[in-house]
Amino acid sequence: MTPLEAILLTIVTASTPLLIAAIGELVTERAGVLNLGVEGMMAMGAACGFAAAIGFDSTVAGIATGILAGAGMAAIFAFAVLGLAANQVGSGLALTILGLGLSGLIGAPFVGARRDPIPHVHIPGLADLPGIGRLLFGQDAFVYVGLALAAAVALFLSRSRAGLTLRAVGENHVSAHALGLPVLRTRCLAILFGGACAGLAGVYLSLVYTRFWSPGMTAGRGWIALALVVFAAWRPAYALAGAYLFGAATVLQLHAQAGQIGLPSQLLSAVPYLATILTLVLLSIGRGRAVGAPGSLGAPFVPDR
C-alpha cells in the first residue's frame, strides 16, 4: 500500500462518523428541530456501544446498543422540546452535557479495554485492483452504510411523500398543521432518527475508529457535524462532500503532527475547529452574493420550537 493510499483510507474512516451524524441531524433540522445534543448522543453511542460489545463480546450487539443509546437520548430531547415545548437550544445543550457525563459513568469500567478490528468488506477481484481497489471496495461496512444512508435520505427527502411531509413540517409548521399533517409525530420520528444516526456515529468511533473507549473521545465531532449541516445547506449530497472535506482536514493535520513540520502540535489540532469557522464565514460570503438565487432555498425554516 502506498502512503497516499493509506492516507486516503484514513480520510474515509475519519469522515464516516461525521457523515453519519450530519445526515441524522440534517433530517432532524429539515423537520424543523434544532438538536444541539449531537455531541452528547454520539458520546452515549460510543460508550454504550463499546460497553455492550465487550459485555456480549459481539460487535453487532455493540452497534445495536449504540444506535439505541443515541435514540434513547434523542427521546429525552423529544419529550422536552415536543412534549413540554422547552427551549430547543437550551435543551440540546443540556443533552450534550448530560450525554458527556453519563457516557463517562458508563464507560469508566471499560477504560483500557480494546476490541479487535471489525472485518472489512472484501469483494474478490475488485478489492485487489491496484490503487483504488482497497479504497473503493475494501472498506469496513460502516463506510458503505454511511454512503447508503446519505443516498437514502436524499431520495427520501426529494422523492417520497413522507419526505415532502417532513419538509413541509420543517418549512412552516402552521401551514403543515393546517393541511392536517402530523407535525409532532413527524418531528418526533425525525429527532429519533437523528439520535439513532448520532449513536451509530459514536459507536463507529469507539468500535472501529479507535477501538477503545476514553472519556471525551468524541472531541467536538458532534459539533462539527452540526456545522456540516449548515455547510451542506441542509442537502444530503453536500453533507457528503463536507464530511469528506472535514475528514481530510482532520487526517492531514494528524499526519502533519507526526511529520514534525515545525509547527506546534496544538496549532494543528486547532485546524478542524478553525476550518469550521472559516468555512461558515466563506459560505456566508458566497451566499451573500447570490441573494435570491435558488441556492438558498434549501435553508429550512426553524420554527418557534
Binding site: L98, V183, V291, D304
Partner: protein
C-alpha cells in the same frame, strides 16, 4: 386520549419561583435513581453531596469559592440570553481572560512591581475575555455566522492556546518539566478576604457584577433594549434599536465577565497557569443562568446551589468512589429539568380525549411570555441580512401555539 399543552392565560408569580426549585428536586430524584441503579445508597450519596458540605464551615467557604466563577460567568451570559443570543463559548473566554492577564503576571514575575499588578491583571482578564467574545459576535454581525457554532469552536481553540503556552514558551524552566508556569508573585495574586481562608476578593467581583447587572437590566434603557431585542426582534427594529450593536455589546460584556472569572480563578485559587484551569465552569454557568431564571439575584442563589454539586461531587468521588462524571450528568439533567419546568410555568398539560379538539384560543392569549422566550434559533444566522422568511416567523408567533399541536 393524550396529553397536550395549553397556554396559561396568566403566569403566576409564585410558579416562577417554585419552578426552578421543583426542577432541582426532580433532578435530585432522578439522580438518586441513577445512583441506586449504580448499586449505591441514594441516602448516603445525599448526605455526602448536600448535608456534608452544608454542615462544614470549611466546605461552606469552598462553596463560595466555587460559586464565584459560576456567578460571574452566568451573570455575563444573562445579557446574551436575554437578547436571545447564544454565547456557549464562555469557557473559551474564561481561558483567554486568564491567558491575557496571566501574561502580565509572568511579565512582572521576579520584578519589584508594585501592588498595581493584580488589578491590572483583572483588567486585562476582562479585556482578553471581551475581545475573544467579540469574535463570534463580529462573525454573526458581519457574516451572519451562527454564534452558537463559532463560539463553541473557539472554546477548543482557546484550550489549545493555553495548552501550547503552558507546555511551550510559558513553562516554568525550573518546574521539573511539568506543564505549568511559574507560581505568581504575591503582587500578582488576589488578596484573601479573611486572612487565612481560601476566600479571595473574586467573590466581591461577583457581588458587584450581580448588583450592577440588577441595576442595568431593571433600570436602564440598555436593559430594556435587551429584552425587546430578545423577545420581540421586529418591535426592536421598529423601535430603532440596532440589533448589531446589541449583539456586540452583550458578547463583550459576557466575554469580559467570563475573562474576569478566569483571571480571578487563576490569580486567586490556582496561583499559576496550567493546561487545565476550569472543571467546565463555562458550560455549567449556562445551567446556572437558566436555573436563576436570568435574574441576577436568582443567579446568586443558583450559583451557590450548583457549586454544591461540584463540592459534593468531589467528596462523593473520595468517599463513595462515585465518578466525577456523575456531577456533569447531574448538571445536564438539571438544565433539562429547569427548561422543562420553565415551559410548564407558561403552559399546562391537559388530557384530551380522542377526537376532542382543543377550542381555538383568542389571539391575545396566545402570545404568552414563554411563547416569545422559547422562540427558536436558526443556525442559519440572521445577523447580516434580514431573511425573507421573517414574515413567516411572525405569522407563526401570532397564530400559532397550536401550530405544532394537532
Amino acid at each position: 386520549m393524550r396529553l397536550e399543552l395549553a397556554p396559561r392565560a396568566e403566569v403566576s408569580r409564585i410558579a416562577r419561583v417554585v419552578a426552578p426549585v421543583a426542577a432541582f428536586l426532580v433532578a435530585f430524584l432522578i439522580a438518586g435513581g441513577v445512583i441506586w441503579l449504580l448499586g449505591r445508597s441514594p441516602l448516603a450519596a445525599f448526605r455526602v453531596y448536600v448535608s456534608g458540605p452544608l454542615s462544614d464551615p470549611w466546605a461552606l467557604q469552598e462553596l463560595v469559592v466555587k460559586a464565584t466563577p459560576l456567578a460571574l460567568i452566568a451573570i455575563g451570559l444573562t445579557y446574551c440570553f436575554r437578547a436571545n443570543l447564544w454565547n456557549i463559548g464562555a469557557e473559551g473566554q474564561y481561558v483567554m481572560g486568564a491567558v491575557l492577564g496571566g501574561w502580565l503576571a509572568l511579565r512582572t514575575h521576579g520584578s519589584d512591581a508594585g501592588p498595581w499588578v493584580w488589578p491590572a491583571m483583572m483588567l486585562l482578564g476582562i479585556v482578553g475575555g471581551a475581545l475573544y467574545g467579540l469574535i463570534p459576535a463580529l462573525l454573526r454581525v458581519r457574516f451572519g455566522v451562527s454564534e452558537i457554532l463559532s463560539s463553541l469552536m473557539l472554546v477548543y481553540v482557546a484550550q489549545l492556546v493555553l495548552d501550547y503556552l503552558t507546555r511551550g514558551p510559558w513553562r516554568d524552566p525550573k518546574g521539573m518539566n511539568f506543564p505549568q508556569s511559574v507560581t505568581f508573585d504575591p503582587s500578582a495574586t488576589l488578596p484573601q478576604l479573611f486572612g487565612a481562608g481560601r476566600l479571595h476578593v473574586g467573590a466581591l467581583f461577583a457581588l458587584v457584577a450581580i448588583l450592577a447587572t440588577a441595576f442595568v437590566l431593571g433600570r436602564t434603557l440598555f436593559g430594556y433594549r435587551l429584552r425587546v431585542t430578545g423577545e420581540a426582534p421586529r418591535a426592536a427594529r421598529f423601535g430603532g434599536f440596532d440589533a448589531n450593536r446589541t449583539t456586540l455589546a452583550v458578547f463583550a460584556i459576557s466575554g469580559g465577565l467570563a475573562g474576569l472569572a478566569g483571571m480571578s480563578e487563576v490569580a486567586g485559587q490556582i496561583g499559576q497557569l496550567q493546561p487545565s484551569i476550569s472543571p467546565g465552569y463555562g458550560f455549567t454557568a449556562i445551567t446556572v443562568a437558566f436555573l436563576g431564571r436570568l435574574n441576577p439575584f436568582g443567579i446568586l442563589a443558583a450559583s451557590l446551589a450548583v457549586a454544591l454539586t461540584f463540592i459534593g461531587g468531589e467528596s462523593a468521588q473520595i468517599l463513595l468512589k462515585l465518578p466525577l462524571d456523575l456531577t456533569t450528568a447531574f448538571q445536564g439533567l438539571l438544565l433539562l429539568c429547569v427548561l422543562g419546568a420553565d415551559a410548564l410555568v407558561s403552559y399546562r398539560l391537559q388530557i384530551v380525549g380522542r377526537g376532542g379538539g382543543r377550542p381555538p384560543l383568542p389571539e391575545g392569549e396566545v402570545e404568552t411570555a414563554a411563547a416569545v422566550r422559547v422562540r427558536g434559533h436558526g443556525l442559519a444566522g440572521e445577523g447580516a441580512t434580514p431573511r425573507p422568511v421573517a414574515p413567516l416567523r411572525d405569522s407563526t408567533s401570532s397564530s400559532g401555539r397550536g401550530g405544532g399541536v394537532p
